[in-house]
Amino acid sequence: MDFELMINSIPKLLNAAIVTLKLLSVSLIVGLFIGLLFAILRLNKNIFINKFAYGYSYVFRGTPLLVQIFIIYFGLGQIESLRSSFLWVILKEPYWCAIIAFALNTGAYTSEILRSAFQTIKPGIIEAGQSLGISNKIIFYKIQIPIAIRQSLPAYGNEIILMMKGTSLASTVTLMDLTGVAKYIISTTFKPIEVFIVAGGIYLFMTFIIHNVIKFLEKKYSFN
């Protein structure tokens, strides 16, 4: 065991963990909006809209995240019209490509979580709202969405942790996140176990924090 290397690599890895957290938080925020949008589309009665939303979540959940990042980072640059458009400012940056891929990926999972949450809301609650003369729009925003969010908290907590692990793939498109830096230190020192313990420890610590925050929120917003 090379304890000196372990201690020396802590600050470098902690700095890299900030990159990981940045990637995670931005993609989660964007992904939440995408997820909510597609969950609503899934509940739409129009069969085309419905199938489109289903197709989106099926494709993004059925393929590895690595393929999605590579298509966006390496693939999209090939389209000439895209290269000359204003979008290229964003798409040439690996950072934004990774975030787009992560957001679309977590959006697909989030849409499934929210959809099943919407579907488990008891019709009686909506009927109670209607009989009180509340408009459908307000029922949706003030009754259905808060209940759905509470219902989906445990599953969403798992999704956050899965996404945190997913951000490690950013290292495959040259970003120096926690895994990227860990790999760099491993390949220069050939001490995989020491670096794994430190980097893995940081990841576990973040998992621990996320897990407990979700648990706290679950308790705070529990029905009883």
Binding site: G62, V67, F70, P192
Partner: protein, 230 residues
């Protein structure tokens, strides 16, 4: 379409072989995972706190750390660890482990952590009376498990195991970083030499979708088979 031609002119046969490699790695990893689960599930359900702790450390660490990091650990540390073990037995030559073994083990350990949780949940949700009845009938410990608990456990576990299979199948794409020529790696090579990454990565996505779709069909059949009588 000429990209996908078989033979020397296209990448069809290479991609076909790569798909078979992905399937082979996934199945091997899943089986390695089952053997890990066979060790750690009993530990999880054991009465002894220290055994519980060992199993909990395994599942928590593996499920809380990115798959890629585990793969790097095996990729860079695998041959070192094997050489260390070999040196105990007096063998000091350099040993190189091939990418298939490293990859299957790395993914297998990850898959095993998920399988362990699935089996634990399945066994815990079997009615207590079943265990007692098996005991009362005077079955041996092995027979109790093999004839009574296992069939019921499988029925409960299959839906969740199909999720584990999906995770495992998708995780194999990460082994491409070690150079094993599976779908992702082959697409990377083809994309590099034809300068058409969009086509090849999209095609890789289609292959993965096909694999998940077909395996889901198969698993659904298994599910029907094991829920006979319910």
């Amino acid at each position: 379409m000429e990209f996908l031609a078989f033979g020397d002119t296209g990448w069809g046969d290479e991609l076909f072989r790569a798909t078979l490699m992905t399937i082979a790695v996934s199945i091997t990893a899943m089986l390695i995972g089952f053997s890990f689960a066979a060790i750690f599930t009993p530990l999880k359900l054991s009465k002894f706190k220290s055994l519980n702790l060992i199993a909990n450390i395994y599942t928590t660490v593996i499920r809380g750390v990115p798959e890629l990091l585990v793969i790097y650990l095996f990729f860079f540390g695998g041959s070192g660890a094997v050489m260390f073990v070999a040196s105990i037995f007096g063998y000091n030559e350099y040993i190189e482990i091939n990418a298939f073994v490293t990859g299957s083990f790395a993914i297998g350990i990850i898959s095993g952590a998920y399988s362990t949780e699935v089996f634990r949940g399945a066994i815990q949700s079997i009615d207590k009376g079943q265990f007692e009845a098996a005991k009362v009938l005077g079955f041996s410990k092995f027979k109790q498990f093999y004839k009574i608990i296992l069939p019921q456990m499988l029925r409960l576990a299959i839906p969740n195991l199909s999720n584990v299979w999906q995770i495992t199948l998708k995780d194999t794409s990460l082994i491409s970083v070690t150079g094993l020529v599976e779908i992702m790696r082959q697409s990377y090579i083809a994309a590099g030499s034809t300068r058409d990454p969009l086509f090849f990565y999209s095609f890789a996505a289609v292959l993965y979708l096909l694999l998940t779709f077909l395996s889901m069909k198969l698993i659904n059949k298994l599910e029907v088979k094991y829920s006979r009588g319910y």
